[in-house]
Structure formats: C-alpha cells, structure tokens
C-alpha cells in the first residue's frame, strides 16, 4: 500500500469518503514533508466528531460507538497484560473498582437501542458473536486439557491471539449492529463520552495516587499516562459532540 493511501486510512470514515482521494493526491504532491501534518490533521478530526460530514444517516454515532468499543477492548487487553494493578478489583476494597462505574455507565448510555428491526438485530448479533464464542470455547478447552507438551511461548501467543480476535470481532459487531439499531443521539453520546472520560481520568488518578504512596513503578506511570491521554481525548470528543449539533 502506498504511504498516501495508508495515511488517508487514519482519517474518520466520513472524511475519507468526502475528501479521501483529494487528501491522497495532496500527500503525493507534497511528499514526505506533509506526512506529520497529515497525521496530526487526522488526530484532530478524530477529536472533533462534530466536524465530520454525515455521509450516511447515523454515521457519526456509529463510528463513535465503534471507537468506544475499540477503546474498551484496548483498555481490557492492556489491564490484562499489566497484571495486578491498583485498578484490579479487590473484594476486600471495593473502592478500588469505583473508576469502572462511570465507564460502564458511559458504555450503557452509548449502547444502541433495538429499534423496529429487533429480529434482524438479534440475528446479526447472534451471528456476530459466533466466532468469539467459538474462539473462547476453544481457549477454555485448551486450558482444561493442559499444555500437551507445547512450548509456553506458543500457548501464550495462542492466548493473546484469541483475546485479540475476540476484541476485533466485538468492534466489528458494534459497527454491524450500528447499521440496524437506533444509535445514540448527540446528547446521549455527549453524556456517554463524558462519563467514560471521567472514569478513565479517575483510573489515572487512582494509579498515580498509589504510585506516590509506594515505590515508583515505570510501568504504572506509563499506564497512568496512557489512561490520562485517553481520558483527555474522550473528554475533548465528548465536549465537541455536545457543542457541535443540536440535540436529537
């Protein structure tokens, strides 16, 4: 794939559809010195969903909901990879899981509603879940049977490949469901993004507070930084969605 085409793929779908070929042409004309601006331009547009032209009905909500699903998947995988952290649920200290509440509230708020095509929606959802359920069942069976003499790196690779596969399919499922279901309007999306952003910010603060009390852990600080950046991005996008269009 040419670099210009790869850079265009960084842009939100509506921008790609409206301006994709023009952007590609400009990048080819300007050469490598235009790449940083093209990348930052894509980043800026992802932070401003209110600027996306609606090239299909409900497209902005569908894309934002899918992006939120991708963020939730990425967060889950990162937390799984880092092992026990100050964010890990502890039954003796339920307050450590408070950060999760606004995020779950936000995801529920942004969830698509069934609408008139309930049967079709359920069929698409069921079909979309089949690969994930099969992959997780195989993983469970593999864990139940045991390593069978296979090397540990191979088993670890299989484990993470399965989790990645399931995560990607959940994002695809969100995008497919978004074509049938009733997607959240700007107000609901605004509230959802603010709740998720608040949860991520709370999680970052919780990690930093723990890091200050205990010894400095570079991994934890990186995790806190990543969460803080994600929180800032989600809050900026939420503010933009709330201010860009009238409620519907």
């Amino acid at each position: 794939m040419r670099m210009s085409a790869a850079l265009v793929r960084l842009y939100p779908p509506a921008i790609r559809r409206r301006w994709g070929s023009d952007i590609e042409r400009e990048v080819e004309l300007a050469g490598p010195r235009s790449w940083p601006d093209t990348i930052t331009g894509a980043g800026r547009l992802w932070l401003h969903p209110g600027d996306w032209p609606e090239t299909a009905p409900g497209q902005t909500s569908r894309v934002v909901a899918t992006a939120l699903a991708a963020l939730a998947v990425a967060l889950t995988l990162v937390l799984r990879a880092t092992g026990p952290t100050p964010l890990t649920a502890d039954i003796d200290r339920p307050a450590t899981s408070v950060w999760l509440l606004p995020i779950l509230l936000g995801l529920v708020t942004a969830a698509p509603l069934p609408g008139p095509s309930t049967v079709r929606l359920m069929a698409v959802a069921a079909r979309g879940l089949v690969p994930s359920v099969l992959a997780l069942t195989l993983l469970y069976l593999a864990a139940y049977v045991g390593p069978l003499g296979l090397p540990r790196p191979l088993l670890l690779g299989y484990y993470w490949a399965t989790l990645g596969f399931v995560g990607i399919h959940l994002c695809l499922l969100t995008a497919r469901v978004g074509r049938i279901a009733v997607m959240p309007g700007p107000r609901r999306l605004h509230l959802a993004l603010l709740a998720i952003g608040a949860g991520l910010a709370f999680a970052a603060v919780q990690i930093l507070a723990t890091a200050v009390r205990t010894s400095v852990d570079v991994g934890l600080l990186l995790l806190a930084g990543g969460l803080a950046l994600s929180a800032a991005a989600v809050l900026v996008a939420g503010h933009d969605v709330g201010s860009a269009r009238p409620d519907s």
Binding site: R17, R18, W19, D22, E26, S34, D37, R44, D51, W52
Partner: protein, 101 residues
C-alpha cells in the same frame, strides 16, 4: 499554519467561486506562495462545512473531486474577519509610520 488562518484562506478563495480541494490549494499557493498541508486544508474544509460556512455544490456529485462553495453565512463571516483585519492592519501601519525608522 494556524487552523483559523487556514479557514480564512479557504473562505477567501471560495468567495471567488466554487472549487474542489486541489483547486482551492492551488489558489492559496498563488495567494500566499505556499500550499497548505493536507491535514490543515481538509481539517479546515471539514470545520467550515460543520459550521455551515461552506457547502458541497452537489450532494451526490463526483466523489473523487468534491466541489464546495461559500454560503451566505460564510460570506458574512469572511467580511467581518477581513474588516477586522483591515482595521488592525491600518492601526499597525499608522503606528509604524509614526515610529522612528
């Protein structure tokens, strides 16, 4: 270039007539000596369209080269901005003229 500057340049070029992205940038190059980078140009176009200051000429036109035009609101915004810039330029030139060389 600042995003607001890019938006002003795009509006200025479109005040002369509808154009597609590449033609807008060619006019900007003729005006300023530099083309806008793709991220700045298409970010400005998206922002201006979201603020209803420009609009596509046809909703279902050629997807490869989307032509846009300035709206009435865009003309009003451009006029207000240019008048303000003219006032600032006049004050600056007056101050420079009165200052010792």
């Amino acid at each position: 270039m600042h995003s607001n500057d890019a938006q002003m340049l795009v509006l200025t070029v479109l005040a002369d007539g509808p154009r597609h992205g590449y033609a807008i940038n060619t006019e900007i190059e003729a005006l300023t000596g530099n083309r806008l980078r793709p991220g700045s140009l298409y970010g400005a176009l998206a922002r201006l369209e979201a603020r209803s200051l420009i609009e596509p000429v046809t909703a279902d036109g050629d997807e490869r080269q989307r032509t846009v035009r300035i709206t009435d609101a865009g003309r009003q915004t451009l006029r207000a901005e240019l008048e303000q810039m003219a006032r600032v330029a006049k004050a600056g030139l007056r101050a420079l003229g009165s200052a010792p060389a």
